[in-house]
């Protein structure tokens, strides 16, 4: 892109792509903003009226909002912690030369290919079911009282399911990073007298800082919008115990049929996601530089 002419031509050629992307993004956003200012309920069609910021007021002052915001943060934070910590350990394990390593790797990666609704159903009916679930069977055969997961620890149950789904992703990224760690560096540390733990904390972990950052950023984007697992298992309950922002907006729009408030909630979620992204990039994004 050296000359004036090639630069102009370049701009001309990328214009259609940029325009398509722009329309793709801006039309839904503008429509959402528009709906968020209307009193728009699907039960009373044809009575839409402009109400200004009233929908935002209702959404933000709804007690469900703070509860679901807290649930969202707990869910995202817990899943991140579980997947990064266990993912690192599993990756370390898979990096060792063991017999049948390729098969084990394939099996570790498998949960990522199971669609969220299916895995949620499997967890709900086959594993966590208080009567016929595997966990209940283990508990009763040990003489313990089986846990009714979705009644007694609903958010924790959701966290387990989502973490199980995202663990392969973290493991895979961290494993490839581990494999790129220079063998001579580990040997140098060995000559320097570093044991397994010192080598891990002084050599391996700093090497993993960047891939861990990537895992955190990418997972956060998807974990803020977890929906299928909640819809299939608890439906946001009991009460509001497993309602996150995404599920709250869904319930506003399609359970209470209030499109206006749901749109306002959607925009609040956009703002929240940006706030989270801003802090995340500030805190961990440093690792991506250089």
């Amino acid at each position: 892109m050296a000359t004036e002419q090639t630069r102009g031509l370049g701009r001309l050629l990328i214009t259609p792509a940029v325009a398509a992307l722009f329309i793709w993004m801006i039309v839904p956003l503008v429509m959402t903003i528009y709906f968020s200012t209307l009193d728009y309920n699907l039960l009373n069609p044809g009575t839409e009226a402009f109400v200004g910021l009233e929908n935002y007021f209702y959404f933000l002052t709804d007690p469900a909002f703070l509860a679901s915001l807290q649930n969202t943060l707990v869910l995202v934070g817990s899943v991140l912690a579980i997947t990064v910590i266990i993912g690192t350990l599993v990756a370390l394990l898979l990096d060792q030369a063991v017999i049948g390593r390729s098969i084990v790797r394939l099996m570790v990666i498998a949960p990522f290919f199971v669609m969220p609704t299916v895995s949620a159903l499997v967890w709900k009916n086959l594993l966590m079911h208080p009567v016929s679930g595997l966990f209940a069977w283990i508990a009763t055969s040990l003489g313990l009282r089986p846990i009714d997961w979705f009644a007694e620890a609903p958010l924790f149950a959701i966290i387990l399911i989502v973490a199980w789904q995202w663990l392969p992703f973290a493991t895979l990224i961290l494993l490839t990073a581990l494999q790129s760690l220079d063998e001579e560096q580990k040997e140098a540390a060995e000559m320097d007298g570093a044991g397994a733990f010192s080598t891990f904390f002084h050599i391996t972990l700093p090497h993993l800082a960047r891939p861990i950052t990537v895992v955190i950023l990418i997972e956060t984007i998807f974990l803020l919008t977890v929906f299928a697992e909640i819809y299939v298992t608890t439906g946001g309950g009991p009460g509001l115990q497993t309602t996150n922002i995404a599920f709250l907006i869904y319930s506003q729009a399609l359970i209470q049929f209030d499109v206006g408030t749901a749109s306002a909630g959607g925009l609040v979620a956009v703002v929240l996601a940006n706030i989270v992204a801003f802090f995340l990039v500030r805190i961990v994004g440093r690792n991506l530089e250089t």
Partner: protein, 334 residues
Amino acid sequence: MGRITLEGVRKSFASHLIIKGADLDIDDGSFVVFVGPSGCGKTTLLRLIAGLEDVSEGRILIDGANVVGVPPSKRGLSMVFQSYALYPHMSVRGNIAFGLKMAGLPKAEIDRKVEAAAATLNLTPYLDRKPRELSGGQRQRVAIGRAIVREPKAFLFDEPLSNLDAALRVQMRLEVTRLQRQLGTTAVYVTHDQVEAMTMADRIVVLNAGRIEQYGSPLELYERPANIFVAGFIGSPRMNFIADEAARRYGAATIGVRPEHIKASRDGEGWEGLVTDAEHLGSDTFLHVDIAGIGNLTARSIGEIGLSAGDRARLLPDPAHIHRFDENGKALHA
């Protein structure tokens, strides 16, 4: 102290025998170079001494104590790797201090030792930089600094200069030898570059296909090679080998003459042949001469002697410098 002794050391990977029995005695304070072609096992032998590989058979003694089974860090050796293997996220100071930190030395003492090592290697201005901000030569020096700061019984160098450009390599070669002499620490140095071997070593170990072919001082190897392999490996350009008729006249299966021991002239005494190539370096001239019944010989002459490709030339070997070998390639001594 740093006396390293190898007794019947063998190493095999799977069923493949890489080191086929090595016996070696490295004196305290000496600079020993392992040299040989690619795949001869020189790096493996070094890694066996370091403890990064386990020996399959035999014993390795450091100052008389058997170290087989002793972890690398407990052997009191330090190693400079080919890729330097610096820790990328640590500063130069952190890199040099790491071994001392692992040994649990008090902070003040670590600082003192690191500063001293940095001063020796002219690294003081760079102590707070990261490895990626350093040039190749500086990184090399950090790797050496990491080795010397632990005051080991011996240094192990694994082709440390192979990533540097030619000019820097010559300079670092001198620096490493000077530093080793100044510290008086035993050094074992692996290289495939015979110039490095000749210039740096007190004694050279020539390895070939997992065997020690000869162990001796550089000049010993040059003047009295034990066999054809050593004769051909040490010296540049390569020694000329002549078999059959011409060799039988000297009572050997093969004779060898170094290019610098062949006198080339336009019309003097000796074998006559056609100059196929002539390399004019200014200081030297390398002539490749095709001689009927003998083969292609290389002759080295000082300066210009006025012969070029296509000329006829006469080559006269210096009878005092003819090496004789039997049919197994062993040197025959008069």
